[in-house]
Symmetry: none
Subunit: 232 residues, 4 copies
Amino acid sequence: MNSAPVTDAVTRQRRKEARPGELLAAALDLFVEKGFAGTRSEEVAQRAGVSKGTLFLYFPTKEELFKAVVRENISGRIGEGFEEVEKFPGSTAQLIPVLMQRWWDSFGSTKASGLTKLMMSEATNFPELASFYFTEVIEPNHRLIRAVIQRGIDRGEFRPVDLEYAVYSVLTPMIYLVTWKHSMGCCVTGDQQIDPERYLAVQADMVVHSLLKHAEPAQHTAPGPKLQHTVI
Amino acid sequence: MNSAPVTDAVTRQRRKEARPGELLAAALDLFVEKGFAGTRSEEVAQRAGVSKGTLFLYFPTKEELFKAVVRENISGRIGEGFEEVEKFPGSTAQLIPVLMQRWWDSFGSTKASGLTKLMMSEATNFPELASFYFTEVIEPNHRLIRAVIQRGIDRGEFRPVDLEYAVYSVLTPMIYLVTWKHSMGCCVTGDQQIDPERYLAVQADMVVHSLLKHAEPAQHTAPGPKLQHTVI
Amino acid sequence: MNSAPVTDAVTRQRRKEARPGELLAAALDLFVEKGFAGTRSEEVAQRAGVSKGTLFLYFPTKEELFKAVVRENISGRIGEGFEEVEKFPGSTAQLIPVLMQRWWDSFGSTKASGLTKLMMSEATNFPELASFYFTEVIEPNHRLIRAVIQRGIDRGEFRPVDLEYAVYSVLTPMIYLVTWKHSMGCCVTGDQQIDPERYLAVQADMVVHSLLKHAEPAQHTAPGPKLQHTVI
Amino acid sequence: MNSAPVTDAVTRQRRKEARPGELLAAALDLFVEKGFAGTRSEEVAQRAGVSKGTLFLYFPTKEELFKAVVRENISGRIGEGFEEVEKFPGSTAQLIPVLMQRWWDSFGSTKASGLTKLMMSEATNFPELASFYFTEVIEPNHRLIRAVIQRGIDRGEFRPVDLEYAVYSVLTPMIYLVTWKHSMGCCVTGDQQIDPERYLAVQADMVVHSLLKHAEPAQHTAPGPKLQHTVI
DNA sequence: AATGAATGAGTATTCATTCAT
DNA sequence: AATGAATGAATACTCATTCAT
């Protein structure tokens, strides 16, 4: 009973401060793996090595836990991109594939990319979180990509484009890749999988091509006749 | 008592034939609005104006109902795309923007496009649905876009590309648009919205540019130095 | 439309009269096979080749159907036993094994024996039916067996016994056999099964031995010391 | 607020340990009264004074609950029989009636005997339970009775018999008694009832007689002529 | 601060029964 | 008399949340 109270106290204190972090880490894993509805509170507690009751001591509801996970794992890393872009000495056509590959290595290929898919899935259930995500993640990323494209234009590499919307040519392949990885990718086999390296190389090549200045061939102007729908 | 027996018979017959359609329409609404797990069977029945039991008379499980919804709204309509591509008389550079706009008009802008986002969200929870969707929807669409790009190459409009992966340059902007529309799009305001017409025009322009043959400028080859991560 | 109306009418009339019988036959099969709760009304109708609605036209509830099945299949055959016993020329020790084997051939081995088990299972849910069964089946059978044993006593073959309760020595092995056959017997394999021929021969031998007069050995009188329970 | 924390703690602990027992007692009552399918989980919980959720905290499914009830009331107590048989000092002819009476006192006359009838009723609907019951209850009981008869033979009291099937002469009267008690017995009146004491005394007398060695009279050999069926 | 026993609202599916035709 | 489409009551099991200790 009264043996080693000091040690216990210290341990307890240390653990107490670590608790929310352990819980958030466990929750991140599980939310990414199983989605919001598919994650059971008890499992989060178990993985964090505490009891169910303790979880609710720190996060009053599962929804609050989810919000905390997203907030915890999203912010703070955006600034780095800007610095690196500014430091980059090569051409913008060189920069884009490097940027995309690096993004994959440091984010897309990690567990954290599960949050991207998660936000898409749960946005309508957590509108407040979606706004937060928009401000904290989407807008900065758009600014970053816009800066990159602007750099290409400023340097005379790229043709002028609708800057605001051109960013999607860079972003959507990346977003799709991580979304796929955490959804359909889990349910298909072998040759139906996407090879990230090849995928990103091709997408980078395509987007750079779409931006570069060149002597335009003349043909693609008139709208052309009727055509029916394609369905994704 | 015996008044209008014919009318009643007709009504009953008409309703019986209409039932599956009414149920599928109600199910589409609710699945898109609330997700697969979030949609209660009884609510589907109610919205279709029938009792719970009747729903299960036509669709033995909720999963089968979902599959039927996908079939009705997506798989069943993919063939049309192929026919139209074959009939199109213009250049492939003309074809692509037309194709994308038409896809938007007939699918992306409709409620049915919510299914695309839904599948992404629920894939891991319902792997069987995911496989079904992959086979019935994703593969055929890839084949269609591949055929379009191949057409451009065959006609000498487009440069040779990694056909398998180049399709994503066309598809990912479209998928992103409908995914956005049914997720973040619900949670942001005014000028943060995406204007579909402008978005698709820009993406079509970009992808066509990325495929067209032209005199290459020389600069984009060397990999270039370090760069840190960006977080989507 | 109006072709062969006579034939149709005749067919219909003939079928109409046959309906209840067809339904009762189908119901007997299914009740015996699956029990009362396990039998679905629709399946009864299907097996009888009619629609669900028709079943309820003849039997207002599933319970009434069950009662009708039992009543239909129980009565009327008991008298035969008495006549045969009276006609039998041999010793009563010969009569008993013959009686048991014959019972097996004409009842125990047939589908109808499922009713015996069914009555045991459902007696408490259908008390009125249980009383009927008691009067129509159990009591007559007791009288029959009592008559047989009395015959043996009257002829000096058998020792005097508590006639009322001695009948159970003959009856319980038979009842157990059909009960087993329609319950546990379905769920065990190979050498765990009961071989009816051998079973009945042994039981007949045992019961005859228990009834025959012989020079009694002296030992089995004192109650003997304590002993704990056995549990079936 | 902080009054009687010890008492509360003790109470809670005591209740926690008592829970499974309370639930099993409630379940036994209801299973016997209403059958397996007829017993609702919630009612079991209610009768035990807890909520539905608590029941599933201790027994993951209704089938597991049933198995636990059988274990608690039957399987767990079979060993006792063997010990007692070995300790018994008297003749086997003395042992058998004692054994049967004791079985009645400690099992047949109690609520638990309803499980015997229950298993017969539900076996085909729950084959897994049937297999469980066969292994846990029926086989051990057969072994016990075989051991008893073998004891009589070894001591020279009993004639040699088909040991495997002779056990039914002891068992079927016992099984019938409890089956009757929980089925037809509920539906008949006064003098139609079975008096267990007299019933068991007669059956014990009969079975002992059937096993004892004695000078055989000669008559019961030839098969004898025709005879028609009897219906149980 | 931590526990974990207890709770009870929530839901897909079945099936006897009804009734308009 | 016959149909079969429609109904809706009934039920095992899950899991976020509470709270006594």
